[in-house]
């Protein structure tokens, strides 16, 4: 036990005397958490459009006002030439050009159903679709408002049933993205720190040559691994805790569930993450190699782990791959506990999976560390 304590002490000393290292572990991640959590939104807000109004009447002006009255669209430019509108799309200055045909008002008054044209910049398919569906709902609103005003009262309407859809969003009725992103970014940042702290560790000693010195000491393999794992675990758990405080105080993320679940799983999860890092570290020849490998693994876990894009937006084989993806489990657990208040009973399978992974990874690290090979 004392041996492990000395090793732990040595690791801490090595980290704490390097100022840049301290910044990388404690300061930069928190700054990123605070700033980047605001970035993640898929809504359209003040999306610029170009207006080509060939009609130039009161009614067409009212239509334009209906567009700009929403927070979704914002008029950037207006001209009387469709080509100019297309040019703005080409230059990426607007997301959409709205073309109102000549005779728009007259047509409406005569009982027709005029059609306006939307030219949409579809480089980003997702936003293009959003712009179109928002525009359609703006047009529907406009029609509902203006048509009864100009129409003769329709007396012959017979009574027919219709279906009304009532949407409601549980747990987050405002569809606030920030409270969704904050836990995700905490998970990503702490995983990255954990992986880096562990993966660079053993291979570094190999590269500098201090690994040989360790190998001739009577330190046992498990003591050596424990001496590497514990300091990193303590550091990253501290960062996670600071992250949760930021989530609570800065972002007002609702803490609906039982925090002991989050802490228990974080503890287990980190052991697995660090075990994975140490295992790769025993296998790599240089720090550069271990960096490339861990970068790859991290990117795969993160981008296929449902942190930034929903798991359901992946094809089924990729959805299945989350069964062996620790970030996916941990991300789900943290979000479900914080945002919904899920309990042990809802999450035991996730937690069990993380425990199994932790055991496998640490065992692999201990076994693969070969004192004779250096």
């Amino acid at each position: 036990m004392r041996t492990i304590l000395f090793l732990v002490q040595k690791e801490f000393l090595q980290i704490f005397r390097d100022k840049i290292m301290l910044m990388v572990i404690f300061v930069i991640p928190m700054i990123q958490l605070i700033i980047l959590s605001h970035a993640a939104t898929f809504e359209l807000k003040k999306a610029p459009f170009h207006l080509v109004d060939f009609d130039q009447t009161v009614t067409s002006q009212r239509l334009v006002n209906t567009f700009t009255a929403t927070d979704v669209f914002d008029i950037r430019n207006a001209s009387s030439s469709t080509d100019r509108g297309i040019e703005d799309i080409l230059g990426n200055r607007v997301i959409m050009t709205i073309v109102i045909p000549e005779g728009f008002e007259k047509d409406l008054g005569l009982g027709g159903a005029p059609e306006i044209q939307l030219l949409i910049n579809a480089i980003n398919a997702n936003r293009a679709e959003l712009a179109r569906s928002y525009s359609e709902s703006v047009l529907a609103n406009f029609s509902r408002k203006i048509i009864p005003e100009i129409e003769y009262v329709n007396t012959s309407s017979k009574k027919t049933g219709r279906i009304q859809i009532i949407p409601s969003n549980r747990y987050n009725p405002e569809l606030d993205y920030i409270i969704y992103m904050v836990p995700g970014i905490i998970v990503v940042l702490t995983t990255l720190l954990g992986l880096l702290l562990s993966v660079l560790n053993i291979v570094r000693e190999k590269e500098i040559g201090t690994a040989e010195q360790m190998n001739v000491t009577p330190i046992k393999k498990y003591q050596f691994i424990a001496g590497k794992l514990i300091p990193a675990w303590v550091l990253v758990m501290t960062v996670i805790s600071i992250g949760f405080l930021v989530a609570l105080w800065v972002f007002d993320v609702p803490f609906r569930g039982n925090m002991s679940i989050v802490y228990f799983t974080a503890a287990v999860y980190l052991v697995g993450v660090l075990g994975l890092g140490l295992f790769i570290s025993t296998q790599a020849d240089t720090q550069q190699q271990s960096m490339h490998i861990i970068f790859f693994i991290f990117m795969v876990f993160m981008l296929l782990g449902g942190i930034f894009t929903p798991l359901e937006s992946m094809p089924l084989w990729a959805q299945k791959s989350t069964l062996v993806n620790p970030i996916a489990y941990f991300g789900q657990i943290v979000r479900m506990v914080l945002l919904k208040g899920s309990g042990w009973g809802d999450l035991y399978l996730h937690i069990f999976a993380l425990i199994v992974m932790a055991i496998i990874m640490v065992t692999a690290a201990v076994i693969s560390y070969d004192k004779r090979a250096g």
């Binding site: 970035a39 159903a113 293009a128 329709n154 549980r170 990255l192 880096l196 089924l316």
Partner: protein, 369 residues
């Protein structure tokens, strides 16, 4: 000059000698592009939906079948009571519950307004919004087909939309260029972030310093080999995008190559700057990964559209090199715009390169004195 070329050749040998690392250097970008290109879509795929059908008649069955048949949603559970809604949400798999009221069909036939409640698990707001849209579309299309709905006036201003550059709304066309920018940025920065830190750590820095090489020789000698090797990465990802993912390439290869080289130079120079500031490889790696990874992914427009961010983040995104490169890549691939439209982006990348190189060399000089 001969001095410099000798140094560059030596650096090249260093890199080429380590086969494993070289394999990782060229293999990983390809592997990542393949995995993410196939796995990440923006379309929702078979999200699990539960039904609470209090009526169980022909019409509700028809609507449920329609929802199940859509590619976006699949019906996996039937609930018996309202109290089960929270339960299924808490255990996580179900993302939406659709509730049909009692006597749905009869009430509808009698001419009443009947309600369908669409409840989503909005702890994933993005998903919730999309599912509301999909469900809405399916139910409205059902009632239009069956003509149950006559609003007081069904006359309406309609619209016809024309999608520019990506008419089928393929998200892969949007995603792959972003992936190229992110991968090149991260891999290139990592390459050079080690270079000088490694020399310091192994002690060979001293040897370099007493050699007749000038500081800027050392900097250039460290960058050039990686610069040339990165070209392979640029073309390998570009060819994959074109042949494997069928992303069009409308622009000019020459323009694309020049801007890509400029971009890679920015990334390499940033790595070098990190390397001059750090004493050990470990610190260099951690700094380059932690500082670079999330801002490049989040603020470049790769996943999240920059236009919908708060203004302060839009401002901040301007210092992320990948943002500018991404605009150029998307422009060259999907639109075919060249320098006449993208001169500003190109100029900014050029400016960033000059900035990082100057600061890098100056930093390096300062350290030596």
């Amino acid at each position: 000059m001969q001095l410099l070329s000798g140094f560059i050749i030596k650096e090249f040998r260093h890199i080429l000698r380590d086969r494993k690392t070289l394999l990782l250097l060229f293999g990983l970008p390809i592997a990542m592009l393949l995995i993410f290109g196939f796995a990440i879509r923006y379309e929702v795929n078979e999200a699990e939906v539960a039904i609470l059908d209090k009526s169980k008649d022909e019409i509700t069955q028809q609507i449920i079948r329609k929802i199940d048949a859509s590619s976006e949603m699949t019906v996996t559970r039937h609930l018996l009571s309202e109290s089960m809604i929270d339960e299924v949400f808490l255990s996580g798999d179900i993302k939406e519950v659709i509730v049909f009221e009692e006597d749905f069909m009869r009430s509808l036939e009698r001419g009443n307004v009947v309600t369908v409640e669409v409840i989503t698990d909005a702890s994933e707001p993005n998903m919730a919004g999309l599912l509301q849209q999909y469900t809405n579309k399916i139910i409205t299309s059902w009632d239009r087909e069956n003509d149950v709905r006559v609003v007081s006036s069904n006359r309406m201003v309609s619209s016809s939309a024309r999608m520019f550059f990506n008419p089928d709304l393929e998200s892969v066309n949007y995603f792959v260029p972003g992936l190229i920018a992110v991968i090149l940025m991260l891999v290139s920065t990592q390459m050079t972030s080690l270079s000088i830190a490694r020399e310091k750590e192994s002690g060979s820095m001293e040897v370099l310093l007493v050699s007749p090489l000038k500081p800027y020789h050392i900097i250039i000698g460290k960058v050039i080999p990686y610069f040339l090797l990165s070209l392979i990465n640029v073309y390998s990802v570009l060819l994959m995008a074109y042949f494997v993912f069928g992303v069009p390439f409308e622009g000019s290869i020459l323009f694309f190559t020049v801007i890509s080289l400029l971009f890679i130079f920015v990334a390499l120079a940033l790595g070098l700057l990190i390397s001059t500031r750090t004493e050990t490889q470990r610190t260099a790696i951690m700094l380059s990964m932690v500082i670079n990874m999330l801002p490049t992914i989040i603020l470049s427009g790769f996943v999240f559209p920059i236009d919908s961010m708060p203004w302060i983040l839009q401002l901040l995104s301007n210092v992320v090199p990948a943002k500018w490169y991404l605009i150029v890549v998307r422009g060259s691939m999907l639109v075919g715009s060249g320098l006449e439209y993208l001169w500003m982006e190109s100029a900014i990348l050029l400016g960033m390169t000059l900035f990082f190189v100057t600061v890098g060399i100056k930093n390096f000089n300062d350290r030596l004195e």
